[in-house]
Every structure is written in C-alpha cells, then in structure tokens.
C-alpha cells in the first residue's frame, strides 16, 4: 500500500482506501458506487488532454485501490469498466470526426480498418470529457437498477410450491424471494451459514415477509437437499472461469446439489464479474481469514485457544461445473458463457492492470 508513490494518488482514492479498510464502506454495492464516484471525480477534476494520460492516471489510482483492498475484486472490475468506457467513447468520438470527412462505409474499409488494439489514444478529442461523463452517468443508473433487474426475473425462476434452499444472508437473494412471494407460494430452507450465522437474520426477514421458511444447521444441508427443487445463492465474486468466490459453506451446498442433481442458481449483478482466475498460490488475494474467535472457538476457553490451530476462512471457491445458471441483470447465463460477458464488459488489454 505504501509502495506506490502516494503523492500521485488522488486524495479521494486515499480516502476511499482508508474508509474501506476501516470498515466505513461495507458491502460490494457500496464499494462499487464509491469507486465509480471516485473515478468520475478523477476524470472531472484532474488535468488531462489525451485519453492515454487519463487512462494512465486511472490505472495508477485503480491499482492503489486494488492493493488497498485486494479482496474486493469489484473495485478492479469498476476500474476496468471505466477504462472500457473511455476506450469506447474515444473510438466513437474519433469515428464521428472521421465520419464527417468520409461518410461512406465500404466492406473494404471495415476489413482493413485498424482494430482497437492499434489505437494509441494520443489524439486530442475535446468532446471526450463530456461524452465520458454522460456515459458514466448512464453506467451509474445501470448500477442502481442492477438489483431491481435481477429481482424482476424472480417469477421466471421460482415456481409454485417449490422448495428452495439458500445459504446465509444475501440482500439480493432476500429481495429475489420477496419479489417471487408476491405472485407465488413456495418454501425456503435457509442454512444458517456458520460461523457467521447470517442465516438466522435471513430466516427472520423471510418469515416476516410471509414466506414459509425453515432454518437448518449447516450439517443438515445434505440431508435436506433431497427434497429441494432449486438452490439459489448469492456470491461475492465470480471468477473468469465461472467459479464462485462465495460465503463459506457454498461449496458444501453446491456439492450436495450436484449429488441430487438439483440446479444451483447464482444471483450475479454484473459488477461482481471479475476477469481474474483463482490461483492457488495467491490465497491471500482469494480468501479472507478472519478471527477464529468469530464463532469457531469460544473466547473463554484458553485451553483450546492455547493448544490448537484454527482457521476461519470467509469464502469458499465453488468450481464452475457445480453452477447451473447465473442470473444476471441482463438475463440468465450458463457458466460457459461467462467469457462472452467478460468480453462485452471489459477490454482484453485491461484484464491485467
């Protein structure tokens, strides 16, 4: 974190890094919104004349943020997304310019035209800034409606009298169920999601919304799976291969579902889609190990504390073959289709920042 030259880092970036570290900005959605805000701030408030300069600043600041919060892959996603927007707008503006000179588009031209790859982004395009801001504003509204778009699809996936299992608490899953409950009657089994036991809250919220809810302990996941029609879970990140980085216990749920051939659906707002792969040697960037005192071992048992080694990872990696369907804000997609989505969202050059 200190390794980068701090003086070049935008102040708002430093503040955001601080507030993420100290837990002021929590939850993926909040972090995403804050990140986009900060990047927009950089676009409006820093001096740049060429697109290339802007991209460099954004990469520099983005890297700092990513390093400050290596687990929040969505920060990187947003940085890549903004870079993609810059690329798009730049080529569009450039095209508009050239179009004026040469309106005729021929097949030959399309074939011989230089691809994005060869673009050097060194031309000065005065209208770029306003175009960028407009596009980013659009993107922000997309982010806002993202959750809603997903819940809108609830009735397509949940049918009457189905039994659905979920794990822990995810705000989007909760909204999804509530939306479906408006038109259907179904039953939800909530696995409590040890050691954090967020499932308790989830179950309470669902039963308040008049959904028939059963709270089970994590050990009962396999036993209950046989009568479940569908598993719907949330996720923290989706890796480039379609694997999930999700709450601990997700792998158990997915494995049990595989055994009983129960479809596993994952709610995926597109900002959680990351072009990164899981690398075993970089566990530190993949998992978060919190204090084992958070539910694994008891605080008032020194004998255990002194004589045992305990782990408390927050995330599980769920391989893509255990996932049946991603429900994103643009519709349902199979894990094998993730690469296409990635290609749409981010530019290939930005995968590695």
């Amino acid at each position: 974190m200190v390794s980068l030259a701090d003086d070049k880092i935008h102040e708002s970036v430093l503040n955001l890094a601080k507030s993420i570290n100290y837990g002021d900005t929590k939850g993926t959605y909040e972090i995403v919104v804050a990140t986009v805000d900060v990047l927009k701030d950089i676009i409006t408030n820093t001096k740049w004349s060429r697109a290339k300069n802007l991209m460099d600043t954004i990469i520099l600041n983005g890297k700092h943020l990513i390093e400050a919060a290596p687990l929040e892959a969505s920060i990187g996603n947003m940085v890549r997304r903004i870079l993609q927007i810059i690329r798009e707008e730049y080529s569009l503006e450039l095209k508009n310019k050239t179009d004026e000179n040469d309106p005729q588009e021929s097949l030959h031209k399309i074939l011989t035209s230089e691809g994005d790859q060869n673009m050097d982004f060194m031309k000065i395009v005065p209208s770029l800034k306003s175009a960028l801001l407009e596009h980013i504003n659009e993107f922000e509204t997309e982010l806002e409606t993202c959750a809603e778009n997903i819940t809108q699809q609830a009735s397509e996936h949940i049918h009457s009298n189905e039994i659905i299992m979920t794990l822990g608490r995810s705000r989007s899953v909760e909204q999804f169920f509530k939306k479906a409950a408006e038109t259907r009657t179904f039953e939800v089994i909530v696995a409590e999601g040890a050691p954090f036991l967020d499932g308790h809250e989830m179950a309470a919220n669902l039963s308040k919304a008049c959904i028939k809810t059963t709270l089970i302990s994590d050990v009962a996941i396999f036993a209950m799976m046989s009568r479940v029609n569908k598993v719907i879970i949330g996720t923290h990140t989706v890796m480039a291969n379609g694997g999930l980085r999700a709450l601990t216990g997700s792998h158990t749920v997915a494995q049990a579902a595989k055994h009983y051939s129960v479809p596993v659906m994952v709610l995926l707002p597109l900002y959680k889609l990351s072009p990164l792969y899981l690398c075993l040697y970089e566990q530190h960037a993949f998992n978060k190990h919190v204090s084992p005192l958070q539910g694994v071992i008891s605080t008032n048992n020194t004998a255990v504390m002194e004589n045992s080694q305990s782990y408390n990872p927050v995330f599980d990696y769920v391989p893509p073959d255990l996932v049946t369907l991603f429900i994103s804000n643009t519709g349902g997609n199979a894990p094998s289709y993730i690469y296409r989505l990635l290609g749409e969202l981010y530019h290939r050059d930005d995968y590695e920042l």
Binding site: Q283, H284, Q294, T299
Partner: protein, 682 residues
Amino acid sequence: MSVNVIKELPNNTYGKQESLKVIVFADEFIHDFKPIEKVYPSILLPVVTLPLLDYLIENLIRSRVQTVYLYYSSSLNKAKITDSIKHFQDKNIIIIPIQLNDSGSLGDALRDIDTNGCIRDDFILIRGPVFANIDLRTLMDLHRVRKEKDKNVVLTMVLRNLGNIKDSALKNESTLVVSTANTRRILHYKKLNSNEKKIKLELQWFLDHDNVHINTALFDTRIYVCSQSVLPLFADNFDFQTMEDFIRGVLINEEFLDSRIYWEPLIYPTYALPITSWKAYKILSRDILQRHCYPLVPDTLPLSLRNFIYLPKIIYKHSSSILSKGCTLHSASLVGEHSTLGKNSFIKRSVIGPSCNIGKNVHINNSYLFSYVQIEDNCEVTNSIIFSNCFIEKDLKITDCIILDAIKCSKNHSNALIGISDWDIEHMKEPLSDCDSNFATILTENDHDIDSDEDASLSSSLSSASSSPSLKDSSPPPAFQDDHEMFLSEVIDSLLRGYQDKLKCENLILEINSSRYAYNISIRQVSYNVIKAILNLSLLHYNSISKISLSSNNAEYYKILKTMLNFFKPIIVNYIKTPNAQEDCLRAIEDVASSSQELILPYVLNLLHFFYDNDILFEEKIIEWYEQDCDDIQDTSQDCDSDNEDCLKQESKKNIARAIRNTVAPFIKWLREAEEDSSTSS
C-alpha cells in the same frame, strides 16, 4: 463530490458524539518485565515485527479516536517515542506525546494530568503495553448508558473472560472478581496468589444482592473507561499509587467516596491482552499469527506490513523475503521483510523479523528474532528471544535464551558464555513447546566490538535479570522502610505544629490518619510511630530549649515530657486501645529509650507510670513486656528496622533492653504488689 460522501460517512454514524479522548501510558511503572526495559520501553517491543504501540494506535484509529495523550515518563527516550509515532501523522488521529516529570507511579501521573486540566470529560485509560482490538466507542457508549442509570459510576473495567485457566500460562494472573450478576457492579476485586487455597467471602455481599457473580477467570485488560471524577479522586486520595490501589480504595470506601466500579466483558469476538511477561508476549505473538485478533493481523494491517502472503498452516511470508532451496517453514511462522533464509533451514513456530539473515541448515524452533539478526550456518535456536542486531556465529546451539541488543555470540567461548540461569523457570513454561523447556537469560560477556560502558550496562542488566528471584524478595522492604520514616517525620511535624499552635487533638488525629493513608501504614505501625513521635518531639523540644538556656538539666526535660504527654493524651488514648497497640507502645518507648539513653532512660519508669495511671497501658501488658526475654525483643523489633544489624549492635541493644528493665524494676515490683493486694482484698 466523492470526497464529501466518504468524509460524511463517519460523521453520520458518530456525529452525535463528541471527541473521544484516550490516555495511553507508555510506562508500566512496575518493572517486572526483564530485561526488556533496558533496551526498549515495553510499549515499543516488537510483536510480530511491529512495535506494540503501532497496533494500539491502529486500534484507536479504528475506534475513531480523535485525540490520544501518550504519557511517558522521563526514563523513556523521547526520541524513540516521537520516532515511533511519526508515521501516524497523516492519519486522522492526533497523538500528543507528553513527558511526565519524574512521577514514580500511575497515581502521580494522573494527579499531574488533573492539575494540567486537559481532560474534563469521560476518557479511556490504557495502562502500559496493551494489545487490543476493542472498539473503544462502544465501550464508551456502554459506560455512558450505565452512567445514566447510576450517576456514581467512576470506572468501567474491561475484563476478559479466559474460562478455565488452571493449565494456562496466564494462571498467575487470576483475580477474584465478585460482582452483582445483572449490573456487573464490582463488589470485591483481588488478585489471587497461585498458592492461595482459600478465599474469604463476605456475608454482606450475599445479603445485599440477589445475584452475586463470583469469577476467578476474569483477566484485567488494563483498559479502563473512566468518568471525569476519576482524576479528582486520584488527586484527593494521594495514597492511590496504582490502579489496583484505586480499585481497592474505591471499593472499600464505596459509601464514603460515593463511587462505584463496574466491569464489562470483552464484546465478542474482540481480543485484548496486556503484555506483562515474556509468557504473555509469547501468547500474544501466537494469537496474532493465529489471527485471533483479526483485523490486526500481518496481512490486513494497513501499515507497512501489507505485503504478507498468508499460506496454509499459519505461515506468513513477506513478498520481499527470500527462501532458498530446501527451506521448510513448518508451521505458525512468519518471515519478515527482506529476510533471507539459507538452504535447508527449518523454521517452526517462530517469528523472523525484518532484514534478518539466516544461514544454511539453521533450525529455528519456538523463537522470536527481532530485526537485523544474523545467524550463520548450522546453528540451532530453540525457545529463545533474540533482539535486534545480534550476530550468532556458526555451529552454535542456543536454547532457552534471551539475547539482548547487538550481542555477538561466538563459538570459541560459547560454553563459557552461554550460562543458563534458572531464571523464572515456573514463569516461562511453554504450553506449546515440544519439550517442556523454559526461557532463560543468556549471560554473555560481550565481544570486544561493543564499547565497554555499553558492555557494563548490558551485563548489569543481565545479572539483575538473572538474580531477579532474590531481588524480588528483597526489593519491597526498602520502599517500606522509606514510607515509615516519611510517615514518622510527617507525624512529628504535625504534632510539633499542633503543640506550638495549641491545636485541638482531634484535628491532629485526623491529620495523622490522612498521612497514614498516604504512606499506606498499617494500624500497628501507626500506634508505634505515634508514641515514638511524641517521645522524639519532647527530645527535640528539650534540645532546642537547652541550646537557648544553658541552665537546663534532666529535670527540665522531664517537665517538658510531662506537659507534652498531658497535651497529647487524647491522641495517645485514641491510638493505644488494643492489647496489640499497647505492645507497640511499649516497643516504641524501648526504642526511643535506646536511641537517647542519657535523657529518657531515667524516666522510663515515670513514663510507664504515667501511661498506667491514665489507663493507657494495662498492668498485665507491662508485666508481660517486662518478662519478655531480651533476645525475643530483638525479634520483635526486627519488623520495624530490618536494616543490617550486625552482632555488635544487637549486643548493645540487648544491653539497653536490660538497662531499661533494670530501671523499671521498682515499678514492676510495685505493680505486682498492687496486684497481689487487690487479689487478696477481693
């Protein structure tokens, strides 16, 4: 725009609250953590490569504390403190380092703070080297809620429930806490000795409260939430020297001081541990590695530690560290920044600090290496702590050692150099170590490259550390002695003033009582010292008079003595009530008589007679004293002056005792006759 969003967040959540002030004492004031204090102030002790203070301040930043007063005593190096807080300057925290002027205790320091007047609100006090990841805001909120219910709450202690600590390394730290079950108001707080088998519980606790909670597994984290009334309490009661004194004093005089103490358990899943010994240091290091104190763990701290890679089996490796071929990081280990490990080295349950250089085939087990340590090939380091800049020559075996700063251990005198003392064997038992070994200090002569005065200081620190068990036994008495002398002179002063200004004796009694509390004197010592003071005073007075008028003689002295005794009679009567006090009184007379023979000795008889006539001393006591063997007297008087008494002195004392007995013999005879008379007449 975004800046506003982020800046507003903390304000929104905590906007209602005013700034939270925290006092951190860098000093412990109690030095039982040897030999560290010679090298670092204990708060700067590196724990898992970072000084303890960094963790502490990081936690304060997390708790959104705005102002920290960092008090350190003059014994600490100012430069070290200011250096260590420099890198917090850009964070949202103001650290004000304040040097205390020569205050010997926490009480004095707090009285200093009271007179400075910079704190006029509730505050949080952190005493000494404490590691914690507690959200202090929540603690303060709990304290305030409690304060609304009970205005007299002065202190909320933060206690950590350790569960069964019978087999734990923290066994010696156990305290008996008696509190009400529902409100957690502390009724009794006492540190237990490990050999104590019985505890006394007072019936009153159970009569006054429905539910009483008795616990011995609670562990003082040394974090206290204090109401503003704590400082005035310290100022008013100048006998409060330590926090323990304060707690005890407040609990005993609960009614009188009108203040109460509560406790708060650690809120799940937080962690706190004060480092009071190497044992606690070890536990803390292990717990940090095992991530019990998340988020204050190496790979998540937003400090320079960030580049650690956390691997399975609790291994942390800094990305800049270099591991050669064949190295094994077995388990629960950390390799710091820019450290290199040679071929086939083996590390287990150890912390290798930054910029260390470890050679080939080195085995390091259960040890802590601070920064810039060099270990050459084929060494074995087990159960040891090696401070910064040490150099260990090849093929050395180091077991159970604490090696201080910049020591060079070389092979040619290794056998002579590495003496293993059995320092604190019990203390240091390692719960996790494979062999049940213990730490010890390494008694080394330093190599010649270290200049001689440093050499001397080091070896002295080492020897003092090694002899600590005996030191511990002998160290309390001197302080004890001083208190007594101070008390005596204080009493003489107040009596003299009282005599000269003809003050009321009741007031003098009050004055004596208050100085009694100030010096923490037992009641028996008080009666002894009061009599001694009165007799000494008469001597002083006589001396001053005799200087003016040369015509004075011993008869003159008796006159003075008599008037004084009459004047101070209420005081004497007040203090000499019990048989024990009478004993002390007689002892005092004897002592004074022996110190100034020519004057008082002839009048001991008159003195005793006076005391007897005024019903201060009873005849049985006097006779008992008289019949006491002269040798016994020696023993009894030893409590009060245990200084080195050689045989000669003892002999002369015995002589005096005999002389005194000779002079009072007629009185005793008379007493006995009177007794016989009374018994026959009745």
